[in-house]
């Protein structure tokens, strides 16, 4: 089972756990319609596009409404802590939620106690919490962007808003190898990372394993959700059985191909990019 957990931007929306379906441009979960916007919904939609293409079981989603107070986030943490032994996920992908260090610590302890350890993926504030609590190395995959790899490299920062000013000013595509090395040295990195940006880099503790520079669609950086789709595809491809490095490389490439497949401007919405993914996988991704 692939489980994707994170909040959705609706107030007073209680926790839901179930298999997702697509209904037009929206997601459907236990009879509830979820808009496919930036954040966890975009991540789930991209994972669903991959699982549909390969005729796999649809991802299971654990979501709750949260618009910033952390109420829904805490419901999700607690639900996972209580139910993971029953759910037995093969891949567990954590996404947007309030970085609650105590609950993240408890969740990681629960994952360690499972009979079979799932592949553990974190993006967004799940990644911030994993790093801030000092448990980054317990994770298999992080998918930071440029400012986030600077955060992971900064041993003292508890959030990207507090990274070293000099580090932020000097981070660019040329400094990525050094930032990756520093993140591993400071125990701020997962086993594998995909650093997203002008060029995307797949790395592990030994260094950079692959870089993906094309097709070059600069407008993708402006579009909210283009990082979420990469993480969603990667989670589904790992669930399919690909090795982590290949899953990351293919996801980064598929995202770029989706950007190049139609007219993409800084005003393009993530739902338009997601809608192109089935065609990208049908025509341009060959896993054989």
């Amino acid at each position: 089972m692939l489980i994707i957990a994170g909040i959705i931007p609706l107030p007073n929306f209680s926790l839901l756990d179930g298999q997702v379906q697509r209904e037009g441009t929206e997601l459907k979960l236990n009879e509830h319609q979820i808009p496919s916007t930036q954040g966890t919904a975009a991540m789930i939609s991209a994972a669903l596009a991959v699982s549909d293409h390969f005729r796999m079981v649809a991802p299971r989603a654990v979501i709750a409404g949260d618009i910033g107070r952390g109420d829904g986030s805490r419901l999700i943490y607690q639900y996972l802590i209580d139910h993971l032994p029953r759910l037995k996920p093969k891949v567990l992908a954590l996404h947007y939620w309030m970085p609650d260090l105590e609950l993240m610590h408890q969740l990681c302890e629960q994952v360690k106690a499972l009979e079979t350890r799932p592949v553990l993926i974190a993006d967004a504030a799940s990644m911030y919490a994993a790093k801030a609590v000092g448990l980054a190395s317990e994770f298999d995959v992080f998918t930071p962007d440029l400012s986030e790899i600077a955060f992971l490299a900064d041993a003292e920062a508890i959030h990207p808003a507090y990274i070293d000013k000099h580090l932020f000013e000097t981070c660019d595509v040329r400094s990525i190898p050094e930032l990756i090395a520093e993140a591993y040295k400071n125990q701020g990195a997962a086993r594998y990372m995909l650093v997203k940006g002008e060029s995307d880099f797949v790395a592990n503790e030994e260094g950079i394993l692959a870089s993906i520079a094309g097709p070059d669609v600069p407008a993708l950086e402006c579009i909210g959700g283009t990082g979420d789709t990469i993480t969603g595809m990667c989670a589904a491809l790992i669930y399919k059985g690909l090795d982590i490095s290949s899953a990351l490389e293919i996801s980064a490439r598929a995202n770029r191909l989706a950007g190049a497949r139609g007219k993409t401007t800084p005003a393009t919405r993530i739902s338009e990019i997601i809608a192109r993914l089935p065609e990208v996988f049908r025509r341009e991704i060959n896993l054989e």
């Binding site: 911030y128 003292e156 990207p160």
Partner: protein, 185 residues
């Protein structure tokens, strides 16, 4: 040298220190202000505690309010009526990022503050996208801001709760400044 400002790294399994890093202190001139603030913050549903600030952070009175730093913007908003001095990190690094970077596209401008990016139509000031971040108010703010003009949105610092919202607000502030200079309005 990229790492010249860094101190020696700490042990990752030092949970107490990691917890401390997540905390911030609100500093006050008087004990009365600190006590009043504790009541206000607790009443708003945020965790906090009155503590003695360490000597190096002491400015004003001997009592400070310990908060979860991620919730800094919401707590600052709760304390609008109280003349607190400032919010500081209890441990570790230092100041909130205040650098804004600007990227030009043919018809759009992207403003980046920390981990948050805001893109608007250069001429009209219409917000076409926000990206980055990871805290739970960001997807909500994304929906709330899309399609609105820069000077028509509720500011993320006024409606958001987290540090990501504060960074998004800095991007809005930078964008407003650039747009107004460009005679956008």
């Amino acid at each position: 040298m990229l790492w010249s400002k860094k101190k020696a790294r700490t042990e990752p399994d030092n949970k107490a220190l990691q917890d401390k890093r997540n905390k911030g202190l609100v500093l006050f001139d008087t004990v009365e202000e600190a006590i009043r603030s504790e009541k206000l913050v607790k009443r708003s549903g945020y965790a906090c505690a009155l503590v003695a600030p360490p000597p190096q952070l002491r400015k004003g009175c001997d009592i400070a309010l310990e908060i979860n730093l991620i919730e800094q913007p919401a707590i600052e908003r709760t304390l609008q009526a109280v003349p607190y001095k400032e919010v500081v990190c209890l441990e570790g690094s230092t100041q909130l990022l205040d650098i804004v970077q600007v990227f030009e596209y043919p018809e759009h401008t992207m403003v980046k503050a920390g981990n948050m990016k805001l893109t608007y139509e250069t001429g009209s000031g219409l917000i076409v996208n926000t990206s980055g971040g990871g805290c739970p108010d960001i997807p909500y703010l994304h929906i709330a801001m899309l399609g609105k003009r820069l000077d028509e949105i509720p500011r993320p610092r006024d409606v958001g709760h987290t540090l990501c919202a504060l960074m998004l607000d800095r991007a809005v502030e930078g964008a407003l400044e650039i747009w107004k200079k460009g005679d956008g309005i």
